[in-house]
Point group: C2
Amino acid sequence: MENFSFHNPTRIEFGTHTEQHIGQHLARHGVRKVLLCYGSERIKRDGLFAQVLASLAEHDIAHVEFGGIVSNPVISSVREAIGLARSSGVDAVLAVGGGSVLDSAKAIAAGVCHPGDVWELFIGQAPIETALPVFDILTLAATGSEMNSGAVVTNEATREKFAINSPHLFPRVSVINPALMQTVSRDYLVYSAADIIAHSIEGYFTARVQPRFHSRLVEAIIHTVMESTEILLADPANYAARAEFAWAATQALNGLVYAGTSGYSYPNHMIEHSLSALHNVPHGAGLSVVIPAWMKWYQQHNPTQFERFAKQVFGRQSAAEGITALEQWFDRIGTPTRLSQLGIGAAELPALLENVLGNARYFGVADIYTRDVAQHILSSAL
Amino acid sequence: MENFSFHNPTRIEFGTHTEQHIGQHLARHGVRKVLLCYGSERIKRDGLFAQVLASLAEHDIAHVEFGGIVSNPVISSVREAIGLARSSGVDAVLAVGGGSVLDSAKAIAAGVCHPGDVWELFIGQAPIETALPVFDILTLAATGSEMNSGAVVTNEATREKFAINSPHLFPRVSVINPALMQTVSRDYLVYSAADIIAHSIEGYFTARVQPRFHSRLVEAIIHTVMESTEILLADPANYAARAEFAWAATQALNGLVYAGTSGYSYPNHMIEHSLSALHNVPHGAGLSVVIPAWMKWYQQHNPTQFERFAKQVFGRQSAAEGITALEQWFDRIGTPTRLSQLGIGAAELPALLENVLGNARYFGVADIYTRDVAQHILSSAL
């Protein structure tokens, strides 16, 4: 095992009705005025918004609304929110939504405290010295952002989907009520399953040092995601499965499966970020296309771990059978496995390839993901 | 899954040479003078003590020594240390040792801030309002105390081995260098394996609500402990196995395998605490005796989970085969499975029984562990 530091200070409040106490959590952290970030207006129709406002009012916490955050959130929206946060003098950011809203909230929280443009933080031109405290009520389990210190945002002008990461960005309190996720659409459920699996397998396959405990933990996460996805497809109101799914999502990217590993990279995310930056596809849908194509190419680099995956996750003997089994499982649950299903054809490949090569430089893996390799993976995903 | 809060603020610094930076961690937390707690004088012979002092000196941190803490630490020693901490005006407690030293450090940290006698905190006569910050350099992986908020201490006068628990007792920084554990004796290695397995299976078998992810996580921990123990018995200097063992120990009792479960209890610890309170046996050795006897009796209460254990951990079909396999594994690694191996015979049972019944009241499970049940489990362990 490699040397590591592990410190995850996020407080998780998990379970039914937990969103009703959000005001109390904010008050405990001394928050007086909060920027309330959300996506669609649906939360105003389903009662969640009213509940949040009631809890804030109960604790005399003022709020300023910032709605309309979209999937694959964009930096222009973050900039707008930073302006609003500054002019209204909020002292915290509260995200009510899924990973896109939460990642935007983190970018806003960091951006408010940065004198320059917020994108400078994404391209390494300035460090994140501090940030407003971030809180969230999660309505979609997938990204793991609720218990980590990262955020991913797209710059529409440059077509770059880049990330920030800082200890200042761990949410202080994340409220996870699986019951709020029971209305997630069938499509977003299966995209989320692909996203969680992607988070756990990036390190599983790519790490140069991969402790056995970590492999077992990843397998536990994948088994749990697969099992609960299948239950939820048949019975969307199954709370126990919704809870297992949500907690597996949190565990997949809270640092635990990476602590003590080394040399890992995020190639599936790297390639997918180009898909969603250029074609605005749902992140998880992009991932379920990239993963099988990437696995078929990458297996030669780590045959032992691919055989382990096949055996432990699917009870199959060979690496190839394991990859096929995962691809077939994606097909069965209904998340795409071919670029064509995303409306992306051969004509789109050249632009996609250039974007992937840019990401490879950004991710520091340009030596592995050369033009030939990226071309091969993308073509095989057509 | 049950509703839960999860918040574990301990920073883990894991790996080789990490102990050399202890002064830096203390300085970051503003510590100026520390009570340095340890057990035997061995750390003065093997160079660890000198390294710690050098790191403290480098950061101008003064220290007061408190050595001689024994396994199954006693409250008289904690009281003595509290006096020393007060008279010398330390502002933090640093444990250098295993679970006994760390648990003592936590009791000292809480006791210094409590105006009454420290044992009042153990018997619920007073709450833990605050505590000095606790830091540690772990030299034995077993108890999980390095990443949780509990501590167990024995009152020699009353023969009670009781616990405290408070969010104030999470170590601020825990330094885990598996290389420091390479000199742990063969006996303490196998006792520790039993302790870690006990931590993970208490909830696994007793929880009324036991999520599937949690079962899988427990199985991942047990597989890792068994595998790394076997490697270490053959090759004590194997760093990778030592690291896997240590990290599994931390994961077994840092709250993760219990978050979202409900109705669990710690019957094996409850019974074992009587063994070590009355006969001062090593905690893990007592546990490996209690576990098989307890399992044979308890399996009727949760047959499905016992079958799962048999299958997932040992590849066996029936609950009984799983229990036998664990007992045989304990025998094979050389940790005791009978009271007689601990020098405890039938003549000692009556006093043991009374102590267990007292613990059952303290643990709130007197309705399950009646005189007849406790007598049955103890007798079957002879």
